[in-house]
C-alpha cells in the first residue's frame, strides 16, 4: 500500500504543480497516471507545440513546460504510479481514501485531488462491427508483451508513429508483419517512415496501402482480417490484428465515483477550494467545471494552489497557518535541499 498526504490523479501540468504547492506546506504527494510518462496532454498530444499564455514565458514548448515542472517539484520527491488507471475509490471510516488502479496498486491518502484533464487516455477503436468479439482473442490495442507475437502473423493498421514503430520492432519477432493504412503517406516521424520503406524493400514488412481493415473473421480466435483496397476486398490470414490509431481521453471510471458530473467534468466549489461534493476529494484543472470555467493551464495552477491550502486545513484542522511567499521563506525540499533568496550584504559607511 502506497501512503501519501495528497494523492493526485493525473500527472499533467496541473497535477505536477500541485506537488510544488503541497510541498511548500510540507505535504507529500503521489501521482497516478494512465500514461507511461508524466505530462498529460502536453507530453502525449502536443509536446512540440508552443504555448504562449503561461505567465512569464512569452513562448514555451509544451514538452519543455513539463520538463520545467518536473524540475520544480523534484525537491518534493513525489511518487509516481504510471501506466495505471485509477479505477476505484473507497472512503474509510476515518474519512481517508483508498484508490486502486486497474493493475491492483493500492494508494492510501487523506486527500484525493483529481487532476485528470479530459480523462485517462484510452485507445481509439476503429468502427469494425465485430471488433469487441476478438478483444484479447487476437485483437490488441496496446502492445504490452512483444513476446506474445513471436513467430505469429501480425496485421497492424494506422499511419502514426506507434503503427510505424511497432511494425519496425515486430519484424524481428513476428513471422510476418503487414501494415495496412488508408494512405500512401504516413503521419509518423520521417526516419520511421524511411525505416519502414527499407524493411518493405527487404521484404520484411508487407505494406498494403491505400487500404483499410473492414472486417474480422474467426471461430474461437481471430483467424483472418478482411482488407478493402480500392474496389478489391480480400481476406488475409493472421494471428493478431493490432489497430494503432492513437489515444483519446475518456473520463472513464471516475464518472462512477459518486461525484457530481456536468458536461463531462466534475462539479466543484469554485468559491472556496475546488472541493467536489465528496469532502476530501478535490478536482482541479481541465477535469472540473464551475460557472465561468476556462480550461487553461494557468487556471489549473491557481486551482492547485487553493486546493493545497484547503487540503492542509483538512489534514490539520487545529493548526494555524498563513501562506508564505517563496521569496521570503525559500523552498525547503524533502531531500534536504534548500533554496532561498541571498541575504543582503550590509556594509557601514565610515
Amino acid at each position: 500500500m502506497i501512503k501519501t498526504d495528497i494523492l493526485i490523479i493525473g500527472a499533467g501540468p496541473t497535477g505536477l504543480f500541485a506537488v510544488f504547492e503541497a510541498g511548500l506546506l510540507k505535504l507529500k504527494c503521489h501521482l497516478i497516471d494512465a500514461l507511461p510518462q508524466a505530462g498529460g496532454q502536453c507530453a502525449e498530444i502536443y509536446p512540440k507545440k508552443p504555448i504562449y499564455d503561461i505567465p512569464g514565458f512569452p513562448e514555451i514548448l509544451a514538452g519543455e513546460l513539463v520538463n520545467n515542472l518536473m524540475k520544480q517539484i523534484e525537491p518534493f520527491q513525489p511518487g509516481f504510479t504510471l501506466g495505471e488507471r485509477a479505477d476505484t475509490i473507497e472512503k474509510l471510516e476515518d474519512g481517508t481514501f483508498i484508490v486502486t488502479t486497474d493493475k491492483g496498486t493500492k494508494h492510501h491518502a487523506p486527500i484525493v485531488a483529481i487532476a485528470g484533464g479530459l480523462g485517462s487516455f484510452e485507445p481509439r477503436k476503429p468502427p469494425i462491427t465485430n471488433l469487441s468479439d476478438f478483444e484479447d482473442k487476437g485483437v490488441e490495442y496496446i502492445i504490452r508483451n512483444p513476446e506474445m507475437y513471436r513467430d505469429k502473423n501480425i496485421v497492424i493498421s494506422g499511419g502514426g508513429d506507434s503503427a510505424l514503430d511497432w511494425s519496425i520492432f515486430l519484424t524481428d519477432v513476428a513471422k510476418s508483419v503487414t501494415l495496412v493504412h488508408r494512405r500512401n503517406e504516413f503521419r509518423g516521424a520521417l526516419d520511421s517512415v524511411e525505416k519502414v520503406q527499407e524493411l518493405k524493400n527487404l521484404g520484411k514488412i508487407e505494406l498494403i496501402t491505400p487500404a483499410e481493415v473492414i472486417g474480422l473473421v474467426g471461430k474461437e480466435r481471430l483467424e483472418e482480417v478482411v482488407i478493402k483496397q480500392g474496389a478489391e476486398v480480400f481476406n488475409r490470414e493472421c494471428d493478431h490484428f493490432i489497430p494503432l490509431f492513437g489515444l483519446s481521453p475518456k473520463l472513464g471510471p471516475i464518472a462512477d465515483w459518486g461525484l457530481e458530473i456536468e458536461k463531462n467534468a466534475i462539479k466543484v466549489n469554485n468559491a472556496l477550494d475546488y472541493q467536489t461534493n465528496i469532502p476530501g476529494i478535490y478536482a482541479i484543472g481541465d477535469v472540473n467545471t464551475y460557472p465561468g470555467k476556462l480550461k487553461l493551464i494557468l487556471c489549473g495552477f491557481h486551482e492547485a494552489t487553493l486546493m493545497c491550502q484547503s487540503a492542509y486545513q483538512r489534514i490539520f484542522p487545529d493548526k494555524r497557518y498563513v501562506m508564505k511567499y517563496t521569496t521570503v521563506g525559500g523552498v525547503e525540499g524533502f531531500d534536504g535541499s534548500k533554496k532561498e533568496a541571498p541575504k543582503a550584504v550590509v556594509k557601514s559607511i565610515d
Binding site: 498530444i45 507545440k49 479530459l118 458536461k263 463531462n264
Partner: protein
C-alpha cells in the same frame, strides 16, 4: 464586420442555424462548442491543432473552403467514419465567404 449564418446538423441529426462572427478569429469547431452543439469532451479535444479528429464534420454545401493543410489531411487519414466531404472543423476559419455554409458533425469516435 458582420456575422454569417451557418447550418450545423448535430450528432442526433438535429439542424441548427447559428450566427458566427467573422471578426473573432474563430474556427468552425469553436462555433459548434460556443453553441454547445456537441457535449464538452467529445469535440475539440486537442484544442484545435488538427491532432485528434474529434471535430470532424461533413461539408454539405458548395462553399469555397480553405485548402486542406498536411496536418489535417494526415489526421483524417487515421480518423474513422471519413467521407469524401470530411473536414476537421477546427481548420475552417469563419470568413464572410462561408455565409450559408452547411455541415454535419461526424459521429463521436
Amino acid at each position: 464586420m458582420k456575422d454569417i449564418k451557418i447550418t450545423i446538423t448535430d450528432r442526433q441529426g438535429v439542424k441548427h442555424q447559428v450566427d458566427a462572427p467573422t471578426d473573432m478569429n474563430m474556427n468552425l469547431m469553436e462555433v459548434i462548442r460556443s453553441y454547445e452543439l456537441a457535449p464538452e469532451g467529445t469535440i475539440g479535444i486537442c484544442g484545435g491543432m488538427a491532432m485528434c479528429a474529434s471535430c470532424q464534420c461533413y461539408v454539405q454545401s458548395d462553399h469555397p473552403l480553405p485548402e486542406m493543410g498536411q496536418d489535417e489531411d494526415l489526421m483524417l487519414s487515421e480518423a474513422f467514419h471519413v467521407q469524401d466531404n470530411s473536414r476537421l472543423s477546427c481548420q475552417i476559419f469563419i470568413t464572410e465567404t462561408l455565409n450559408g455554409l452547411e455541415v454535419e458533425l461526424a459521429p463521436e469516435a
